[in-house]
Structures are given as structure tokens and as C-alpha cells.
Symmetry: C4
Subunit: 499 residues, 4 copies
């Protein structure tokens, strides 16, 4: 037995609700009193009572979690891991299949566009992680509409423009970026990759784009800041806590550490129901353990488990307070109609993100790009288009999507899931390639449209009539008629070779 270390046997004695010890990263902790406060519920902790919980704990808690939320008196010190009984894992056929698929993964070079990363990630990610990232609200209609909406906008390119030199750089909230997209905030990065959000930090640096840091990150906020290089710029995405003091500390800390924008999420007074996520039976808590209580329904999936601290009472009245506590530009993330954009201007906000939260909140909410087409003419009509920066996210997969948003008048375009998928499947190299593919597409497409700089992109280059009719449907098919129809056939190949 190693000196001064606890034995596995000793820890194993504390395997009940009455006395519950767990091992994390080789150290033991007494979590008996913490049990009822765990946002993810007691059940998942008790499963590991008296045992090593590292593997389960790791992906969804920032490393500073135990220091922050567990009194030092409960830190029991190192365990002689050699004495801890190894549990034999039950054979999981789904996991075995996944490992087999991973062994046959396509090479990164075979990914030619952002959808390709998603197609690969779907096969190689853990089921619960995939469900958390890929799910949307209700029937996921809005989630899919987000990308589909771009297909309602078509180009009116100009020819015979000298497009030898293309400059696709732009400026967002005072920061010069190499290309007008940014990495938008998405939760629980370690579900997809052991290093979590810092992978995105590194890729953002490589490509000189801005990263928006999520409140619900797997990495700690400071870890993500620490990963910043050179004059790299980051923004903070903020879920506002019911306890405004916690929020104040977060904001002030972010500004001190150099964040250049405060994006307040306004489309999530309550996090959405995502049935795919719920069905995947994921019930582990997220990392951002801001509040306690065990009265949340644990069967509601990851999204609900990690968001109980969010304040549904947040309102326009809070905006002046935010302006009083920070000098960072204030941007409302999740604005969904022109009325609220105009109000944001009047409230003195510096920007809005037209977004429906990746289709994860309100079903049949309109896509950001559709709202953008509604918003910009109203701003121009009032001469207000310079008073506020209008960002948009949701469904962006191609440089053509980015260009359409720019033609309408967007300042910057947020991209979330595609980089998560690239990261989950291929790590930093994946995100790097995803960004490079977008840049390649962007350069080419600007050439093909006949614009040499972002400033030259304007509404006359697009045809938006497809948005005018709203969301029309198609008459349900007459099954009997369709099935009785005998479709035409191409020439049939012979059954045997001709001689």
C-alpha cells in the first residue's frame, strides 16, 4: 500500500446515500452532502458510490468543478489506484459497432464540405453526444428549415468583373476578421472531443476568426481564455443567472480577461425540449454548475439538466444594468422579429444576432436568414443600418449561405454545429479543414458572383422572391393514385450478354 494514500477498499465502504465517496482523477471526495444539490441528480453519482467515477465525470465537468463546488474538507486526498478494483465493463454491442466504424473512418481529405463532417460524425460519435448536438425542438422543423431557407434565395451574379484579387476580410464589433463568419457558442464541447472548446479556440486562431465562448462550456472559462494566442479575439455568450451577482462576476471577469463582446442569449428563458436528446437517455449534468436543487426532471435530457439557473424573468429592463457593468459591446442573441431589432437599437444595444438557437428552442420559429430579409429594409428605411450590427446564425453550411446573408446586409455569420461535428470526428485538423473549405468556397463564389470585397455584396445580387410567400406546404399526396401509377422506365439492360 502506497504511503498516505487511501485504499480502494476503504473508499468502497462508502457506497451509499448515507456515506458516498467517489474517486476522480485518482483522488477521493466525500459527496454525501452534495448529493441533493447535484444538478444532474443523485442517481448518476450513486451509481459510482465507492468507485472510480473519472470516466463518467470527465467529459461533462470543467476541471475546476470540484474545487469550486465542493468544500476543501470533502477533498479526501489521493487513492492508491492499484488497490482499486477494476470493474469489468459489460459488453455494449452499440459501442462495439461504433468502435468498428471508427476503425474504418474516411480520411479527412475525403471531406469536401461541411455536410461531410456531419455524415462522418453521425457514425463515430457516442450516441448520447450525437443526440445532444444534433437534436432540435419538437419535430425539428425549424432546425431543418434553417438550412433549407438559404435555398429560397438565388443569385443574380455579375459577369466581366475583374475578380483576380478577392478580399473577404471584414470587421465585426471593431475586430478585423479574415472572413465574415465566427464560431458561435455551443454547449458541452467535451461530449465531442476530450479537449472540448479549446480545440475551437486553436482553430479560430489559425484562421483569424472570432470565437464566442459559451456559458455552458465543458472547459472552464479560463481554460478557453488561456488557449487564446496572440491578438486573437473572443466574445462571451451569456446565460443570465437568476442571481445577478453571479452574472456580474462572470461579465466583469470576461471583460478583464479581454473578451471583446457580450452576447446575451435572449431566446432561451427556458431551454427547449429536444426529444432526440431525451430519447437518448442522456441524463448527465453539464459543467456550468451555477445553481443547485434537485427538482428538475432528469428524464428531460441534457439541455434541461444543465440550465436550471437561467433567469426567465430577464427583460428589457435589465439592459441598462448590463450597460452599467461593462464596456464590452452588448449584443442580443436570439432576436426573431423586426420589432425587437428596432427596440434593441432604441435600447442602445450594439448588435443583435438573428437566430432561433439552432432550431433548438421554439418550433416553427423562422430562420435567421428569413428574419434578416425582414429586418434590413426596415433599418435602411429609418437610416439605422449603421447604428447596429446585425449578425445571423443557423443552418449555415456553404459559403453561398454566408454570401447570401452578406448580400442582405448581415455583418457576420455564426457557425456552430458544423465545427462541432468536424471536431468530434477529426479534432483540430477537422475544424481547420472545415474552415479552410469555407474559405476556398468563399473565394471562388465571390469570384463567380462578381464581387471582389464584402462591401460589394448587396441586395441586387440576390433574388429573394422565394421568401415572399411565407411557409407554404404541399397538398398531402393521394397514396392510392400514386401507387397505381406505373412510372416510366429507362431502357432495360439485357439479361444476358449479346453474342
Amino acid at each position: 500500500m502506497s504511503e498516505g494514500k487511501l485504499t480502494g477498499a476503504k473508499v468502497a465502504e462508502h457506497n451509499s446515500k448515507d456515506s458516498c465517496w467517489v474517486i476522480v482523477h485518482g483522488k477521493a471526495y466525500d459527496v454525501t452532502e452534495f448529493l441533493p444539490e447535484h444538478p444532474g441528480g443523485q442517481k448518476i453519482i450513486l451509481k459510482y458510490a465507492g468507485k472510480d467515477a473519472t470516466e463518467e465525470f470527465e467529459p461533462i465537468h470543467p476541471p475546476d468543478t470540484l474545487d469550486k463546488f465542493l468544500d476543501q474538507s470533502k477533498h479526501l486526498g489521493p487513492v492508491d489506484m492499484a488497490t482499486v478494483e477494476q470493474e469489468e465493463k459489460e459488453f455494449d454491442p452499440e459501442e462495439a459497432d461504433r468502435q468498428e466504424r471508427i476503425s474504418r473512418m474516411p480520411s479527412l481529405e475525403a471531406c469536401y464540405n461541411l455536410m461531410d463532417f456531419e455524415a462522418v460524425a453521425r457514425q463515430v460519435m457516442k450516441k448520447t453526444a450525437w443526440a445532444y448536438y444534433s437534436s432540435g425542438a419538437d419535430d425539428e422543423i425549424t432546425m431543418r428549415e434553417n438550412h433549407a431557407a438559404f435555398h429560397k434565395i438565388w443569385f443574380r451574379p455579375r459577369i466581366l468583373v475583374d475578380v483576380e484579387h478577392i478580399d473577404m476580410s471584414t470587421t465585426m464589433l471593431g475586430t478585423k476578421c479574415s472572413i465574415p463568419f465566427y464560431v458561435t457558442a455551443t454547449a458541452l464541447g467535451k461530449l465531442g472531443h476530450p479537449e472540448g472548446e479549446v480545440v475551437l479556440t486553436k482553430a479560430s486562431h489559425q484562421h483569424n476568426v472570432v470565437q464566442m465562448i459559451p456559458t455552458l462550456a465543458s472547459c472552464s472559462f479560463d481554460e478557453i481564455l488561456d488557449a487564446k494566442q496572440g491578438d486573437q479575439v473572443q466574445w462571451l455568450q451569456l446565460y443570465v443567472n437568476k442571481d445577478r451577482e453571479i452574472t456580474r462576476k462572470i461579465v466583469e471577469h470576461a471583460e478583464k480577461r479581454g473578451c471583446k463582446g457580450l452576447f446575451i442569449t435572449v431566446d432561451a428563458p427556458q431551454l427547449g425540449r429536444r426529444e432526440k436528446d431525451m430519447r437518448s437517455k442522456f441524463s448527465d449534468p453539464g459543467s456550468n454548475v451555477q445553481s443547485g436543487g434537485d427538482n428538475i426532471d432528469r428524464s428531460q435530457g441534457a439541455a434541461r439538466a444543465i440550465s436550471s439557473f437561467i433567469d426567465p424573468a430577464l427583460s428589457w429592463k435589465d439592459i441598462p444594468w448590463f450597460k452599467s457593468i461593462t464596456n464590452m459591446p452588448i449584443v442580443l442573441k436570439g432576436v426573431q422579429c423586426v420589432e425587437d431589432v428596432l427596440r434593441a437599437v432604441e435600447a442602445g444595444c450594439d448588435g443583435v444576432v438573428l437566430s432561433n438557437h439552432g432550431g433548438r428552442q421554439l418550433e416553427t420559429a423562422r430562420s435567421g436568414i428569413e428574419v434578416l430579409a425582414e429586418v434590413m429594409p426596415a433599418l435602411r428605411e429609418r437610416g439605422w443600418e449603421k447604428r447596429i450590427e446585425v449578425f445571423v446564425d443557423g443552418g449555415v453550411r456553404r459559403a453561398t449561405d454566408i454570401i447570401k446573408a452578406l448580400c442582405l446586409g448581415a455583418t457576420g455569420i455564426g457557425i456552430g454545429r458544423p465545427f462541432l461535428y468536424a471536431m468530434s470526428a477529426y479534432g483540430l485538423d477537422g475544424v481547420d479543414r472545415a474552415m479552410q473549405l469555407l474559405k476556398d468556397e468563399m473565394e471562388m463564389n465571390m469570384r463567380l458572383i462578381g464581387a471582389t470585397s464584402v462591401a460589394e455584396l448587396n441586395p441586387s445580387l440576390i433574388d429573394t422572391r422565394g421568401l415572399l410567400g411565407g411557409h407554404s406546404g404541399v397538398v398531402p399526396s393521394d397514396t392510392l393514385g400514386l401507387r397505381a401509377y406505373d412510372p416510366l422506365e429507362a431502357p432495360r439492360f439485357n439479361e444476358k450478354p449479346k453474342l
Copy 2:
């Protein structure tokens, strides 16, 4: 042989048209003279002549049927069931498959939305029962359009509204309800569950919503009333009998027993052809044996068999008579264009239900929600929107559907089939969960839209442009071209693992 009881052998002697006895619930009845009057035809009774018919009789006749329709002299008294020969049932592979599926049913907790109950019910219900509930008119285009129509309406949510406290209660016909939906009338509840409509009565009580009692219930009207608890409110749905005295008795009895609304069905002078139902070869009569005669075509499915008493001559001229016989509010159920809503106001009706009878009557009739969008502006234009309560039903599956109807101006939203499916698959617990899911969705979605009460829901929160173009179709596909097209592929996984 038990004292004073008939023997099975004795009953079995009366096994022909000339002398036909049947056993129901351990008692024998002489139905010889009743045979030609049976609305479901003689054939189905003769199949059980001299035998125990309980299993066939039970699900589709209210318990008071024999007392009501068979003279006491034909009640032959108890049978010594030990002496009744047990028939061996023929092996039915479809039924065996169904039982096997039932043994593997998903747990109730796995149902996350109203469609889930339907998906389960489809697998575990008897084929004929499923066909009766799930079928619609002709090609079932209207039936499907009813839900699809909601997808043409999209949200324009407001942000930064304090939505901590959500009040989703409302008032319909003077009754305060916890949420603006009610259980609409649907026929033959015992096809789905042995207890029939009283299951819905109990669930409605648990959730403080109104139940509308159907004329064509499997339970007797009084059974459903008796199941009422506390100050629970029920309404009566009425098919008007050719014999108005029968109708008068029904209405007066309902009012006396406390019903708070009279919903006169006006979209069914003749019950629709539902081919799925007809094809399922269901030919048993319904419970509401109001009229006799055997001249109805038995191959027309359940709907036609049970509805021969309905009066196709019902007209606007009858409305004053209804107003003269009852003080209950009078609501026309099945109104389908603005002209008739205006006429209903003028006729002094208290409400209308914009409905196409669940897509079971007239094919390519418009959905209730589409008619609502036509009706409300016309009412508002005349300042009549307070003179009449406008209900709507058909295709409601999500709280977002309910909210869209409320935004347009509906007072209440009827839901039928989803609760039948929940009941058929999981009984009372199923209906309870279905209602709870709707409440959970409703609370969340009102938050996400930025409305704290039903009164705050208004047309500016929705985009209804998708309804403007009517019902456009898509050009039939060019099969040859589509098949010759070689679709893009995602990266292929390798055939063998990399080494």
C-alpha cells in the same frame, strides 16, 4: 346444474332465425323479434345464436342497451355458465402478432409527444378499432392537411419579456379551464379501451379541462355523467335525430344532468365514407341504437352502421327550436366558411366549432385553422368578435398548434384522436401523460414566444403568409430524369480498418 338457471344446452337449442337466444354477461335473451331491427344487421347476431355473445357485444354497446331496447319479457334470466360449451377460438395469426407486440410495448415514459401515442397505438390496437379511429374521407387528404396546415403558420416571438410566471388558463362558455384545449367528442370509445369514454372523463378531471360527450359513445350517457367529479364540466355533442322528440329528451336530460354546452354537429347530414374503415371489414353496430331498419349496407364500415338515425334535413330553421328547449349555450360544430359563421352570429348561436370532422367527412374540405384565419378578421371588421366564441379542432398535436390558433383568435381548441390513441395504448395513465405533455409544451412555448397569458397571444406573433396562396401543388416529377440523376454521396467509410 345450478338452481333456477338456464343450461347452456337449453340456450343452444335456440340457434336460428326462427328462435334466437343469446347470452350476454351470464344472462340469456330472446332476440328473435329484435333481429330485423338491429342497426348492425341480423348476420352478426345470428353468428352467436344459442351462444355466449358477451365478448362481441361488450365493446360496442352501452351497458343499458338491452334494458332500453329489449322488452323485459325477452330477458330470460341467468344461465349456468359452467354448462355452456366453450368454443375453441380459431388461431388468428394477426391477433397473435398483436399480442406479441403488446408484450413488448414501450413504457409510457418513452412517449414524449402526442404522435408517439399514435405510433404505439397503431401497433397494439385491434385492426378494426385502429381502422375506425384512424380513417378519414376518400384519400384522407383533408385528414392529413389538418395537421400539416399548422406548419404553414410560423412564429414571430418577442424577446426580453419577463416570462417567469405563465398563466395558461382561459374561459370557455363561462367555464374556467386550466389550459385552452378540451376533449372533443369521438365515437365508440370502447373500441380502444374496455372502460370507454369514462377514461377521458377521469383524465379531464385530473387536468381541469372540459370533456365533450359524444352521441355515439360506447358508454351510456349517464355512465359518463356519473364519472364526473367535483365541479367538473362536460358538454354534449349532438347528432340530431329524425325524430325530434328523441332529440328533445336527450337535450333536456343533458341539461338536467348539468351539461354546460350543446354542440350540434352540422357537418354530418350523412356520415362519410372511410375506406380504410370499410376495408377493415368492420361491420358491427355502434351503441347508439336510436333507430331501426335493416336496409343499411353493412359493408360500409362502422361509421355508416351507427348513424342511420341522423337527420339530413336539419337546417337553419331548426335553430330557434333548439333555443326554445334549452338554456345551454348552443354551438354549431363543423362550420367551414366565414359566411356561415356570420350567419350563426345572426341566428343567435353562442359559438361555432371550425372543424371538418377530423377529415372524416368531406374530402378537400379546408382545415379548421385555415378557416379560422378567414373568419376572425371578418368578425373583427364587424366588431362581432365578442358576440360568438370560436372553437377549432382537427390535427392538433403540439402546444404550438394550440398557440397558433389562440394567436389567430380562437377561444378553445378541441383534441380528439390523440387522447383516444393514448387511452387505447396506455389507458388513463396514457391520457394523463398526453395532457401533461401538452401542458409542459404549452408553458415552455408561451415562454419562448414571450407571452405570459392567453390574453397576450395575438396575430402579430405569427406569420400566416403561408396560408395566402391556397392549396398549391407541385409539378409531378419527371421519373426518368430523377432516376438518371446520380446523387451526391458522403465520404465512404473504408471497407477494412486502417492498420
Copy 3:
């Protein structure tokens, strides 16, 4: 050897182009000189040179063909059929499969609508016959649009109308009919049934509807006339021959035999290419052998083979001549835009049929029902709606389709293929049931719409906005995105029963 009869051996000697005899119905004919004149080509005759050709000849030639087109000197007299060598038929696996399917045909009672007959016919008809009936022009887009167009028109029914008594009779070209549809002309009835068009004659009589007799019938014109019963009314459909004297004789003969309407086909100066038909390798001639010549491409399918006599030079200048040779009302069949309807009025025509020839002629021609919506307002604007009767055909499968046309203002609705399919699958009983189903649907749907007679059907009962946008398409799908999407799933059934 029977006295006075030819032997099979004798006939078999004449088995070449130089001397070609064939046996039909037990008689021999010398067709050597006729060979080059055969509209269906020499090849198919030479296949039977010296042999019994009855089975091949029968379905596609009217019985008077040989008398009409072969000089009496070539009629060689009866053959002793006992001496004719029986050819063993090659085993045809497709035909064997078809016979097996026929043995398992659903009973007629299982057909609940007109599509059902088509579904059965597709399985039990000979491939070439099915291809001839079911094929359309080019990609068959117009053929399918014909039915789909009805789904763009939705109902605005009226409630509380006394609909106990429904009168669906109407008058077309002076003839009272029981219901406002007629049997429109379709070619080659014997492909579907050995008795050919007279089956339709009998069914039309049973249901008191008008039959339009086709120029290209399998039965002779007089056979069809002879099958008429009582005061049954028939019309003549006319393809105009390059030789106007032939046309004059046909018209005069039809009028003399009591035809009550002359429908001149104007949408077929050349019969369409129908690739399904061509691909089925059908190359036999039709019955109406009006002209000779062998320069037609035999690989063009049945339609082209039988239509070489049609005059592509037919023009408005011919109308006065038609008026001069007959007192029958003159109706132009195949009018496709409002301009030509107005011109028809001015030319003194009694009617038009808005039709695209069942989608068999010009691809992406509009449906008759769409043209009707264009035509009627223009007629009413000029007060001309009584000056001409407007018929419509194409894609009618449901009584709702008929009612929509009547609401728009049509006088009568032609139905073709559905009756052919009913006849092909079930003979006269099939057509009888098809017509009865339409009547049942019609009665019910008029009740549900709130109209008691054809006269009450009017434009306010329908919503035609779906026609306003023309023929819009849908953006081609993004395959990669769709395939990467992971669709929602219903609750999964357990793999094993719960214990």
C-alpha cells in the same frame, strides 16, 4: 377431310410474301396484295402467313374489317380446322405470372373507388394493353397533373341546408342524364375486354349516362350502335380523315343512326408519342383502317400505328362545312385556352371539351380543370355562358372532382380510363360498380357541401387560390444535408417481452 373445306396443309403452303394466306375465325383469306397496305405493317401479318391468326387479329380489328377492306375474291372460304397444325406456344413467364395473379384477383366488392380498379387492372391486364391505356406523352407530367390539379381546389361547404333529397341529374346537349358525367371516347376497347366498347354501352344504359363512341373503337361503329337500349343516347367522337368524303359518310351515318352529338377531336393533328406504349413493343394496327401506306414507323407504338389517316390540316375553315353536313350539335374536343373557347363561340360551335387528351398529346399542357377556371369567368364577363356548353375531362377519379368542375361552371365531365380499367379487370360488373361508386360519392358529397341540385353548385363553394400561382416547383433537395439528417423516431418496442 370435310367436304368443300380447305385443309391446313393447303393454307400452310402460302406462307410467304409472294403468296400469303391467313386463317381468321375458321376462314382463309389471301392477303398477298393487301400486305403493303396494312396500317400495322407487313411484318405482323407475315408472322402468321399460312397459319391461324385469329387470336392476334381478334382484339384489335372490328369484325367487319375483312369484309370492308378485302375484296370478296380474296375470301377463300372455310378451313377444316381439325387439319390445321396446332402450334405449341412458347412458355411466356410474364404471361404465366399474369395468369397466376388473375387467379388471385380481389373480389369486385373490395374495390371502393376508381383508383382501386386501376390498381387491379395494372396487375391483371396484358402488358401491351396496360401500356396502351395507361401511357401518356413524354414524361407523363400532364397525365398525372390532370388528377393532381383537382387537389388544388378546396371546398367551402355550407352547413344547415336541408339535404335530405339530392337531385344530381343534369342536361347535356339536350339529353337528360342521371349524373353529370359521360363516358368519353377511348380507343381499342378490346385490348381490355373481348367484347370491347359494347361493355361501356351496356353500363351507360344501366346508369343512364351518355357514351361517346370513339373513331378508333375495336368494335365496329354499328355494333356499338346496335348495343344501344331504349332511348339511350350516344355521341360520336371524330378524327377527321384527310379524305373528307370518308368523314362525311361517317358523320351522316352517325346522325342517321341516332347519335346526338358530334365531338370533333382538335388536339390531335398527330397522335402523341407515348414512350411507355412504345417500350411495350406493341406494334399492331388499330381497327379503323381508313387509309393505307406502309411508310409509318412501326416502332412507334399503337397510337401512331392506328392514326395515320388523321388530317393535320384541319382548321377553323372546316367548321362551316361540318355545320353544313349535319344537324348534330358540334363540339370541339381538346380546346386548351380561353382564346379558342371564345373563337368557338363565334364560330357557332355548340360546345367545347376542355381537355388535353388524357395527357397523351402535348406534355406540360394544362389540365382541363385549370383551363376551365380560366374560361368560365371570361364567358360570364361577356354574358356568353349560355351560348356554349363547356365540358371537361382528364384526371377525374372522385365525385369531388366532378363537383369541383360543376362549381366552376362545367356542363358535363368526361371519364375515360377509369371505366376502361374497371372493364378490363371485372367486365360489365366492374363498370357498373365504378359508376355506382361515383353516384354514391356524388350523393354524399353534395350533402356534405350543402347543395341539393347541380344548379346550386357555384364558385362560392370552392377555393381556387391554389391555381393562381401557376405551376411552381420545389427547389431540388440537397442530398448530402438530407442524408446527414437523423430523423426522429417513435418509441421503440422492446426487443423482448417484459416479464
Copy 4:
């Protein structure tokens, strides 16, 4: 060893980057110094270092390539091929499958329309060749829209027009053609057929249509010119070289050799990314080796490899220069909005081709036919419709497509891929039949529309409302609802024959 010839062994010694010889058509060449200049990259050459490269070289280099680009001193003279070691080819299962399919190819007569050739070609072409021809930009939405757009335009045909004589000839850039389509320029003809573009030259002569000669042909320009017969007319498609002197020489040579039109491609400052092509791993260089350098990414597919010489700086300023160096009519190929057509008129161009490069360049660029509908009214409004000839290409598969373009006002219609597919599958006979099929369709459809000459085709004959709404989409489906729906079924056939 044959006298004066090199031996295989000798050549095989030079099998490295330092000394690299290859054999082509029995002659050896020293390409050591050329290696870095090869547009297709060094790798593909080095694969054949010291070996016979004929089979690889042949399909994608014009025969004069070596003479043009390799100094005579590097031409090492004939090789005694008997001494060259034969490499055994590795068994390629995909190629074996293809050969098997070729052995069962449908006969040419089974192709009834242009799609049929595509369906056959897809099965019998080499994968890389198929990928190069069939691929489009990004998600290939525009590529498919090109054909689909024609389905948004429907006909309004006129009846009773004497259409016995149809004249479908027309005049383009002063040349009388038999029918208003031309063979548009497409690259790398030898991928599909060993003879390459001259096959199209021959077919164009047979049918009296114009051929546009591509810059990126597999055959040399002069070979294609040499194949011209009689007064056959050809045009030149031009990619403009960064080195204008090269361009000048090409233009002057073309004019001298009799080309009658100069089509300057303006929609391709950079050749598009075609992922299907890239995925097929095709990396061989095209024939038109105008510039060197090895800095192009070889994984970008054929399109990128062969186009590095194209000048992205080409602009309106270059037009006067072109007018100064040639008397050929100047046509801009790839114009995509009305503004640029008007500018082309003002710049003195003789024509424009409304085209998106077959959907191979900018994704969600509008189809040529849609742009045509935008352009012609603007030209007519200004009275400019005679000042410029408007051509259109993209997605043309049917004569109806051609006729729609003519009705809108097009002078001529370009067809590319369909002829490539016909050539690839069936050689000259295939192209011949494809053209004949179009002529047959054209003649028939003009009859059916009621137009006897191209001049009679006008906008009143078509309904273009389907284009007005832009590119609308459909709401994404609700998977759960759709899957829970139980579709209607046709009558079921019995399991066993009836007795």
C-alpha cells in the same frame, strides 16, 4: 532488336524524377524538364516513368500536345514495342462490372428520349469520366434546377391551325439551321469516346446544326475543324488566357479556319468545385495545356486541373479589344441577369448566352430559362430585341423545353451533356439518334401547339406564372407524424387462388 529503335529496357532505365522517359504511341520522350510544368501534376507522369503511358495519355491530350509543348530535342524516336515489358493489369472489380454491363447494353433503338442515353451512359461509362461529365457545383441544386425550371412553364396551345407543314428551321448569327438548337461546348470529349469531339462534328453535319468548339477539347482545334464537311458551320468557345497573345492567336486562327462566332465564356473566372468529380479521384490534366506551374491542388478534380490558365481579371474593358481582333460575331456566354444583357447590348456584343455553365459553377444561380423570362420583356420594352441574339442553355432534354425557350424569345438553344451521354454510350449513332429524336419531338410538338414555324412561337402560347414566386421551398416534413400515418391500400390480392 529492330534497327534504329530504342529498346524497352533502355527506356526503363529512365524511371525517376532525375531522368524521366515515357513512351507514347510507340515513341519515347524525355519529359524530365517538363515535369514541373505539367498542369496535371508530376505524380501522374512519374507513375509511368520508364514505361508505356499511351493508354493514360490518349483520352485527355490532343494528339498535337507533344509537338506543341515538348521541344523536338526531347523527342527520342521510335521504340521497339516488342521489347517493352507488358505490365499485368491489376484486377479491378469495378471495371469488370462495367465491362459486364457493357456486354448487356440496351440496343440503341430502346432509347426513346434524351434521358435514356444518360441512364445508359451512367452504367457503361468509366466512373471518372461519368463523374466529370455529370457533376455540378456544390449540392448540384442549380444543375438539377436547370431542367426542373422548364416544368414551371406550361403550354397554352392553339387548336384548328393547319399544321400539315412544319418548318422548324431558323437562323443563328447569320447561319441557317435545320432546328433551333446547337451543340454547345463541353470539355474532354475523349473521356466519353475515343474519337472525342469530332463525333459531335459529324453528327452536327448530318443534322445541319451548329457545333460550338470547346477550348478544353480532347481533340485538337484543327482536328475538329478538319472534320467539318461541306458548308457546315462551327463556333469557337473561348476561355480567355492570362496571356492575351495566346488568346489573340487562337481567335485569329479560328476566324481564318472559318469559325462563324466567338463565344467568350464569362461565367468562369475560376472553374467550379464539383465534388462528385473530386470524389472520383480524377486527377489527370486536360488537353489544353496553355500554361504551366505545379501549384494547383491536384485533389480538386479534372475541372480545376485543366483550367489554371483562365484569366480571372477578364472584364468589360476587354470587349473593345476582342472587337478589334476579329470580325466574328462576339457572344458572351454565361450571362445571368438582365442588367448584364443590357450592358452587353451597349457594349456592342452580338449575342449573349443565358447560362449557368450547366450548373457547374455557382450554386443556386438561376436557370437560363428563368433569366430569359426576365430578360426578354426588358429588351422588348426598350425595342432592343433585334439588337442582340439571346441564346440559352442548361437542362434542355425535350423539344418542349426548346419550344418554351423559343416562345419566350430565344434565338437558339444550346445542348451539351445529352449529346455527350449519347456519344459515350453509342458513339456517332447515338448522337445521330438523339438529334433525330429531338427533331421528331419538335415537329410533333409544334403541331400540337398549333405553330407551323419558329416565327409563330410567342409568349401567348405559354403560362409562366410558375416562375413568378421565385424559388420557394416546402416546410420540412414532420417525420413522426408521417410515420405514424397509415397509408391507404389498394385491394389486396388473395394469397391463394380462388377455386
